[in-house]
Amino acid sequence: MSDIPVAPAEPGALERTLRAGRDEGRKLLVPYLTGGLTVGGDHWLDVLSAVVDAGADAVEIGIPFSDPVMDGPIIQEASERALAQGATPLSILDEVRRADVGVPLAVMTYYNVAFRMGHERFASSLADAGVSAAILPDLPYEEVGPWAAAADAAGVETVLLAAPTAPDDRLPVVCARARGFVYAVGLLGVTGERTALAASSLEIASRLKAVTDKPVLVGVGISDAAQAAEVCAVADGVVVGSALVRRVLAGEGPAGAAAFIGGIRSALDA
């Protein structure tokens, strides 16, 4: 625990973009897509472009992992299917490198993917592919040191999660080490759709806004435009994953994804 490097003071590309959006009075929208997943002939990069065109401020790209313990059934299924289609960290990053996305990208995966490849190598492959940030939901603050050192050196921002279970004195510590944005976990539970916004989403957002100036985005459970707008009364923005991935899995393709994300964009801009 002693060897956790202090986060660089200079914001990276993701944080700069999100801060700039916020400074313009915009609520931030970050969709999540499982990388490497082709459904019914629709390539995932086409879905990615569609959500960017529909108003995403940045996009989270999932590198699928065999044992995603923070994910519910939808992202589990997407991960299994992408892996079965042969997706690997290198194949996904290779596709990203050749795409021209236009907004900052964050990779979301589990720590073993980075550990197995080696911290330096994984961090530099992200940087080479033009990925700004990494989100590793099973790598909490206490364990982040060795990875963060490599990521900082490669110019990759490590987003940290902050959860409703954290005592008050933990939140400033997590926020100080977080780069890109602070990922507020909206509820007690794994990713997946919920019929209503959890009260804990508003609570964690306001607890975080009270202790940090970094962008605070709420993710896990945000399922539709109304919930996104509701939580953005307090939060700076939202991450929307399972609700989008379910549509992708159902074969709705780029058009369906754009319609869904566009609807959230309008609700946030209203």
Binding site: M1, F65, S66, D67, P68, V69, M70, G72, Q76, E80, L83, T88, P89, L90, Y110, Y111, N112, V113, A114, F115, R116, M117, P137, D138, L139, P140, Y141, E142, E143, L160, L161, A162, A163, P164, T165, A166, P167, R170, V174, V185, L188, G189, V190
Partner: protein, 384 residues
């Protein structure tokens, strides 16, 4: 050397740690504090000791295997954890964790299980203490260990199938962790082996250290010293670490036996899954591989971090046996000693039977971690 306290970072050498979702960090930290204070509290220790003797039937006997020894040319002693209440060593850990959960004000237990022995033990402790209990079990295991599914239900637990991935122990752990992420306020995750995030590998070892402590004394009395070799099967590694802990400061060789299809130490490389850094069977990209073993309790691609440490410093070594060797050992012990072993400890018997020439004339203590009733239906198919 004694097995060490892994300290606040939960490290055994470079292995261990607390690689959990942020939501669970405060719960793991609270669990460590609560365990430390309970373990130092004579009232807690007294209550656990009383349950272990009056409810679970400890101490478990040490059995000299005369006919098996004669057949193998190796002197074999069994530490009879199969005679504990519920039929395996798992009850030692579960009674400890259930008492601790109650002390922490938790009202619900969630557990994963492979062979069903840990699930049965958890359901038993929950019934005893009036707690709710949900057990996750891979769909494949629910079929091959159907008897234990029924036992858990009889004991009042809810058994939920894990339907993703290999539909075995690894996937049951994933589901139990997902449940805990959502219910951490009132729920204790009663993890069934010396694996997972800190403090589990250490806490579960401490609850099983009673196996080694008793066996050490029993060997002193019976042999006037220590055995040459101490061996146990290794899934996550709880029964092995329990018995090793009594002999780690002696000259005894410590040998863990893994299934060839689930040999994390033997065929894995360091990785991080289920909250811990340890040896792990995985591909070049870090995707966890599916284990394949006849024994549901050992059908796991990882291993507890302290075993990775003991292997890397050379204090213990890890052997592999095949399903066929296990099937033969299952029959051998039944026939020569009138003891039907669970398929898990049959792995340890399989190793010493295969390597009997190397072990000739030596004294080997085997942790007989469980009885074979649960496996009889599966073996009727295999042998029928």
């Amino acid at each position: 050397m004694a097995l060490a306290d892994p300290g606040p970072t939960g490290r055994f050498g470079e292995y261990g740690g607390q690689f959990v979702p942020e939501t669970l960090v405060p719960a793991c930290q609270e669990l460590e504090r609560s365990f430390r204070s309970a373990w130092a509290d004579p009232a807690f220790r007294g209550e656990l000791d009383r349950l272990l003797s009056d409810y679970a039937g400890r101490p478990s006997p040490l059995t000299e295997c005369e006919r098996l020894s004669e057949e193998l040319g190796v002197r074999v002693l069994l530490k009879r954890e199969d005679l504990n209440h519920t039929g395996s060593h798992k009850i030692n850990n579960v009674l400890g964790q259930a008492l601790l959960a109650r002390r922490m004000g938790k009202t619900r237990l969630v557990a994963e299980t492979g062979a069903g022995q840990h699930g049965v033990a958890s359901a038993t402790a929950a019934a005893l203490m009036g707690m709710e209990c949900r057990v996750y079990m891979g769909e494949v295991d629910m079929e091959r260990q159907a008897l234990n599914v029924f036992r858990m239900q009889l004991l009042g637990a809810e058994v939920v199938p894990a339907t993703s991935g290999s539909r075995t122990l690894k996937d049951a752990v994933n589901e139990a962790m997902r449940d805990w992420v959502a219910t951490v306020g009132d729920t204790h995750y009663c993890l069934g082996s010396v694996m997972g995030p800190h403090p589990y590998p250490w806490m579960v070892r401490e609850f099983h250290a009673v196996i080694g402590a008793e066996a050490r004394q029993q060997c002193e009395r019976h042999l006037g010293g220590t055995p040459d070799v101490v061996t146990a099967c290794v899934g996550g590694g709880s029964n092995a670490i329990g018995i090793f802990s009594g002999f780690v400061d002696t000259d005894a060789e410590l040998v863990g036996v893994e299934p060839a299809g689930g040999a994390a130490v033997g065929r894995g490389v360091p990785g991080v899954v289920h909250g811990m850094k340890s040896y792990l069977m995985q591909d070049e990209f870090g995707q966890v591989q599916e284990a394949h073993s006849i024994s549901a309790g050992l059908d796991y691609p990882g291993v507890g971090p302290e075993h990775s440490h003991l292997a890397s410093i050379g204090r213990a070594r890890y052997e592999q046996v095949t399903d066929d060797e296990v099937i033969a050992a299952f029959q051998l012990l039944s026939r020569t000693e009138g003891i039907i072993p669970a398929l898990e400890p049959a792995h340890a018997i399989a190793w010493l039977s295969r390597d009997r020439e190397l072990l000739a004339g030596r004294t080997v203590l085997v942790n007989m971690s469980g009885r074979g009733d649960k496996d009889v239906a599966q073996m009727m198919d295999v042998l029928g």
